[in-house]
Each structure stands twice: as C-alpha cells, then as structure tokens.
Amino acid sequence: MEFWVLFSEVMFLTAYIIRRLLILPLILLGVTFIIFGMMQLLGSDKLLAAYVNPNVFDKLTDEELEALKDKYGLNDPLIVRYGKWLNGVLHGDLGWSVVGKTYVSEALMQRIPYTAELALYAIFPVIGVGIWLGIVAAVNHDKFIDHAIRIFAVIGWSFPDFVFGLFILMIFYSFLGWLPPGNFSNWVEDAIKSSNFHYITHILSLDALLNGRFDIFWDVIRHLIGPIITISWLWWAYLLRITRSSMLEVLNKEYIRTARAKGLDEKVVINKHAKRNALIPVTTVGGAMVINLFAGTVIVEVIFNRVGLGSFVAQAATQLDYAAIMGGALFYSTILVVGNLIIDILYAAIDPRIRLG
C-alpha cells in the first residue's frame, strides 16, 4: 500500500514535469517571436546594421544598399525572415555587436561569468539575512524589534537601487575608500592575463582560489561587496516581509498551540514546527528572486561600472546596438523561463497541493 501511494505521487510529479516541459518550448518560441516582432518595427536600414558596419552605409548607393538587404534576406516576407532568424539563434548566431566589437554570442559569453559571479555571491546574503530578519520580526511580533524591522523593510522596498548604490559609492568608495567600483583592480588584470593564470570555471574568484592566488580572490571580493549590498538591500525588504507574514500565519495555527501546550521548548517550536512550514511559500519567492537577481544586475552593474551582461545591455541600448540588445534580452528571458520551470518543479515536489492545481 505504502508503495502505491509513493508510486502515484511520483507519477503525478512526472506528469506535472512533462506538462511543464511541453509548454516550455512554446513559451520560448513566443519570447523569440515577441523579440523578433519588436525588432521589425525598426525598419530594414537599422536591421542591416546587425550584419554590416553602419559606417559604410553612407558610401553605398541605394541599389547597393538594396542588394545588401537582399543578400541578408531583409526584403523577404516576415515569416521567412523569422524562420531564418530563429535558425540563426538556434545555431548561436545573433549578429554583430557594434558595442562589443565582436559577435553578439561571443560578447555575451565573455560577460556572463561576471554577472553570474555577482548573482551567485548575492544569493547567500540576500536569502540568509532576509529570512532571518523575517523570522526575528515574526517571533517578536509587535515588539520594538518587529517595528524596527518593518520600518527597515518599507524604507528598503521604497529605495530605488540606483539611488542607494550611488550613496554606497559616495560613502564607501569616495569617502572611506573601501569599496572600489569596477570588476577588479588594474594589477589583477595583468595577473589574470599572464600565462600562469589558468581559467577553470571562468568565474574569476573561484579561478583565483583554484590558482592559489588569494590576493586576487580578495580583490575580486572587495569589488563585489558594494554591488551585493545594493542588490541585497531591496530583496531583504521584500523577502523579510513575506517570511514575516507567512511565519505569523503559521504561529497562529493550532498545531503550534498544541506544541506549546505540550510544554515544548520555544526554540524547538520555532525551529522544528513553525519555521519549516512557514518557509514553503518563501521558497517560490526565493527562487523567483534568484532568477531576478540576474535581471536586477543591469542598474547595479552600470552604477558600479562593472563589466557584465547588464552593463552590456545598457551600453548597447544607449548606443542603439540592436543585435546586442536582442541577444541580451533573449538570454535574460531564457534564464527566466528555465529558472522558473526548475523552481516550479521543485516547489511541486515540496508541496503536493500545487500539482493538482
């Protein structure tokens, strides 16, 4: 009997995963179509810039321009172009980036590790501190510490990240000189370009550790602290609000009262009984947050003058490098879609109610 219950559980979960996996390509197709459709609003002249250096345009006659457009298929019907473009995207061909001075796919590959590094390091303080603050607030409901944390949350949630980041730079870089902007110091650049330095993971801080260069590791981390604080600030506020309300709801449940009535230690009640159940809804938010950390890096990277995906997209946007913007947007949305899928599946595995809904 036990076995059959477990079996049906697994079957349900598998069915859910399969359903979601079938929808995934459809959504990705929709995303590509939206991005492609938006690109078509530009007109063929601007689209040609993705293939040909736009500086050459002035020297060409109209016939030559038309010939070029024909060559790259810009005069074809929409659906044909979409098919060709999609084919190119699937083969990693996203066009030429003026800003990156290389192919878009290559430019993205160069910058993704930096953004991934930032997002990876940001996850731990964001989730850890956010949940901790939320639990502390809920446990001390309506006491001073609860009010203080709530005020912190509402102010943090209202603070635009670019204002906060600029204040961080002003105080910790300009005044105290602790947290410099950029990805690393100048001397690190020489060090990592030398032949002694081996790239293993392409995430610089990890590579530095694997190469045994603790000075480089520390320098990279030092450049990461400012952006991480800026990102965390907003998400702390968000996460702690959700944790707090979820925790409060659980603390009012019957089984908590029962546990307390049994004379259980308050610590055990909080940690074993309340926390576990309260954190279920937090998982979804936490997961969505990890994905959004990627997207949220645009502003932070611009403020802290970092090389990365976000600053690349922002730079491409100001210089009207359409191919790069589209490539970046496509990458961001792929991360979002795939990441959301993984989280939904994990969530379904944790909470059986979801699968049926």
């Binding site: 929808i23 459809l26 959504i27 990705l28 929709g30 995303v31 939206i34 991005i35 938006m38 690109m39 609003l41 530009l42 509402v154 102010i155 949630w157 209202s158 603070f159 635009p160 990240d161 670019f162 204002v163 600029l166 204040f167 730079l169 002003m170 870089y173 300009s174 005044f175 609000r241 707090r244 309300s245 409060l248 709801e249 959004n292 990627f294 997207a295 949220g296 645009v298 502003i299 611009v302 403020i303 997209v313 922002a314 491409a316 946007a317 100001t318 009207l320 359409y322 913007i325 589209m326 970046g328 947007a329 961001y332 949305s333 979002l336 879609v337 959301n340």
Partner: protein
C-alpha cells in the same frame, strides 16, 4: 452602506502607515498642482521672460566659447577693472577722469582684454604702472592708492574693490552699498566668486551676480568661464538656487516639476495596464478552458522578459521619450493584474450568486461587470497602489540609463543621471556635490514610500487575512 464606509475609513485612518502615506501623497499632490507657483517657469537669466515648455528645465547657456584665463588672479584683476569702470564713468569730466581712466587701462593692460589668455606678467605690469603713477595718483586725490596696490598682493579682491572705491572720495556713498552687497554674497557663499575669480567658476549664476555687483553685463565673463565646466558641474548657491544647480539647471525646479512627471507616469501606466490586465484576466478566468490556456500562455510569454530589460528593448526601438517609456511599461506591466484577477475569479465563479445569475439568464458581460469584478477588485486596487511606486522607480531607472526622458526633462531620474558623474566629489571635498544626489533621491524615496505605505494600509484594511 454609509455606516460601513465610515467604519472602513475609520479603520483605515487608524493605521499609522495610512496616515503617513496619505499625508506624503497629499503633500506631493499639492506640490504637483502648484508647481507653477512654487517654481515659476521663467528664464533664470531674465525672470520677466517665461519659458516655452515648463517641463524642460531651463538651462543657463553661454553664447560665446570662453577663453579660460591661465591664472585666476588675472581674472580677478579683470573683474576689478570692469567693476571700476562702472564707477569711473560717473566721474565728472575734470582732471580726475583721465587719470582714473588710465588706471583702468593699466588694469586692463592697456585695454587689451585678449591678453588675459596669456597674462602671466599682467600683475607685474599693473604693479609697475601703479607705482610709476603713484605720485600722480596722490596728487589727484587718490589718497589710498598704496592700499590698492597692496590689496592686489594680498589677493583680496573684495578689499581691492573696496579700496578702489575709497580712492574716489565722491563715491564714498557707494561703499555702504558695496558692503551690503558683499554681505549678501558672503551669506550666499558666493564670496568665492569674487574672491577666487572665475578660473574655476563655482556658480552658474556668476553672470547675474557680477551684473548685480558691477552693473557690467557678463561679456567679460564670457572670456573667463570654462564653458564646458559650468554647463555640467553641480553648483551650490543657496540664495539663488535652493537645491543647487547641475548641468546648468536648477535642481529645485527639476524636483518640483518632476513631481508632476512622476504622477503622470505612475497614474497613466498603472490605470491603463490595470485595465488591460483586468480585461485579459477576467476573460481567462471566467471562460476557462482553451481561452484561459491561450491567454495564460501569452501572459507567461510576456512575463518571461524581465521588466527592466523589456522596457530597455522597447525604448531603444521606439526611441527615447517619456511617452515611449510609458508605452513600454504598459506593454509589459499588465500580467500581474491579469494573473491576480484570474485567480480570484476562479474562486468567485463557484459561488452561489454567480450560478443564480447564470440561471436567471443574465449575460456574461453583465455577470462579470456586476458580480465578479466588484467581488474581486480590492486585491487589484491594492496591487495597483503598490505598483505605482515601482513603476516610478523603473521609469526613473530608464532615465538614469539615459533611455527615458529626453535631456533636460524635469524628471527625478534625469537629475540623478546628471549627478552620477559627480558623486565622487572634488579633490579634498568628498561630499562637495552631495546635494545633486540627495534632493532628487529623497523626493523619489518619499514618493515611492508613500505609495507603498498606502498599499500596505489598504491591504490591512480590506484584506485582514494578509495582515503582516
């Protein structure tokens, strides 16, 4: 109904968040309504002239490309020379006038203003000129001529100006005037303009200040001000500009008129995107089946582009401008509402009164409008008020990246964009330009805070289950 409304309002305003949020919003609303009176849209150089478009922050521009002097003392000397000229012109045509004129000419290095570009020797020239003519000056009644010479070497321009006036007994009445003028500048921290000359001009209003001070039109400044610097640098001169200046524009003006921009962006985008979300969500929720499936997959597709990235993509395609930013935010802003309303409708749909209405043969449209929407609208309203804040942040973020409002538009994000280059301060004065970041920053934080508090309070009032 009235009793219940009263009770709800009472409960709403017992909430401290509601009180703070509503009062900040009332304040901002008043600021937005009376913007034209708080920060009149007039030309900063000529207050009698109205500016054409009040949403474009007026900018002080310099017509002529200036030649910056190599040494600041040369600028000071030029300043004194011009200042003196004004008074000398009033001297009656007797033996004093040619002499005074010759002093001016001496100060002007024999009238050749162009020389200021390369006048490292000017001071010596003047010194020797004045020394040569010392006796002559004394004879003519310039009792304090020596003091004048000395004051040049003390580099105290105010003193020099004052003493030069003292030299001419008939014009002693101007001294009182001068004292009060100097006091005014000192109070406004504008004394630097006078004292350190214009080689690194600190104030966008220098032209006006100098005009007030000497009556000379600013043409001499045209040569001396580093135009590129003055047009961009944050400037603080509290008497003339409460919040200082940046990029040749008044920050106070930008903050006041930026309130209108913020309200406009927030309200238009929130209302339109909420309506779109309501329509799509209620159709999907009410009809269910394949309609629901298709609409929700479309929602998923739109949700799979990060909001900021999507807004960046659209604004780069449509071009910059506030209207385009709003379009971008509407296109990618309706999904949250749609999902919320769909979920609520799925719950409400099963209720008895909907079934009753259906059994009575009421048309779908009326069921949705009469029964479904009123029972599901509150969460949407709460969500919309929470979204107001984040929408304003996103719009400002786009302006901050240089993709939103056009250059010089009265918008908090643009002001912050200007201040970005100056947060590192000046040599030795780290927080020199703090005002450029702080004032627009505070305005924005308060605005967003108010909407968030309002949303919180609404939620607590109408949906006590979610209280937290």
């Amino acid at each position: 109904m009235r009793v219940e409304t009263k009770r709800t309002l009472k409960r709403f305003f017992r909430n401290p968040s509601a009180i703070i949020g509503v009062s900040i919003l009332v304040f901002f609303t008043l600021v937005a309504i009376f913007a034209a009176y708080i920060a009149p849209p007039v030309s900063p150089m000529d207050p009698s002239r109205k500016i054409h478009d009040p949403y474009t922050m007026p900018k002080i521009t310099w017509k002529q490309e200036p030649i910056p002097p190599t040494k600041r003392k040369d600028a000071e000397i030029a300043f004194v020379a011009k200042g003196l000229e004004k008074y000398v012109r009033k001297i009656p045509e007797d033996k004093l006038r040619p002499l005074a004129k010759s002093i001016i000419e001496g100060l002007n290095y024999e009238g050749k203003i162009e020389v200021y570009a390369k006048v490292s020797r000017t001071k010596t020239k003047i010194k020797s000129y004045l020394k040569d003519h010392l006796d002559q000056l004394k004879e003519a009644g310039f009792a304090n001529a020596e003091n004048l010479i000395n004051s040049f070497f003390e580099n105290d321009l105010v003193l020099a100006a004052k003493r030069s006036l003292e030299m001419l007994p008939e014009f002693s009445k101007y001294i009182d005037n001068l004292e009060s003028e100097i006091e005014k500048f000192r109070k406004a921290d504008c004394i630097k303009v006078v004292k350190y000359g214009f080689s690194k001009l600190e104030y966008g209003y220098a032209m006006k200040v100098v005009k007030d001070f000497t009556g000379v039109k600013g043409n001499i400044l045209d040569w001396m001000i580093d135009k590129k610097l003055i047009n961009r640098k944050p400037i603080r001169c509290v008497d003339y500009h409460l919040f200082g200046m940046i990029d040749g524009r008044d920050i106070f003006y930008g903050v006041i008129w930026g309130t209108r921009t913020a309200f406009r962006i927030g309200l238009i985008v929130t209302i339109i995107s909420t309506i779109i979300g309501l329509i799509i969500g209620s159709i999907a929720g009410y009809y269910g089946g394949w309609v629901d499936e298709v609409l929700m997959r479309i929602t998923d597709v739109f949700l799979s582009l990060p909001f900021l990235v999507a807004a960046i993509v659209i604004t780069t395609i449509l071009g910059t401008g506030l209207d385009k930013v709003m379009v971008a935010m509407i296109i990618f802003g309706w999904m949250g509402t749609a999902r919320l309303i769909r979920g609520n409708i799925l719950q409400v749909k099963e209720e008895q009164y909907i079934l009753a209405a259906k059994a009575l043969g009421v048309k779908d449209f009326f069921i949705i409008m009469r029964h479904v929407i009123p029972n599901t609208i509150f969460p949407v309203v709460i969500q919309a008020s929470m979204r107001m804040g984040s929408l304003v942040i996103t719009a400002a973020a786009l302006s901050f990246l240089g993709l939103g409002a056009p250059t010089g538009y009265a918008d908090w994000g643009s002001l912050l964009n200007y201040s970005r280059d100056w947060i590192l301060g000046a040599q030795g004065e780290v927080f020199k330009y703090w005002f450029a970041l702080t004032y627009p920053g505070i305005a924005m934080v308060l605005f967003v805070l108010a909407w968030n508090l309002l949303g919180d309070a609404l939620r607590d009032t109408f949906d006590p289950r979610l209280k937290g």
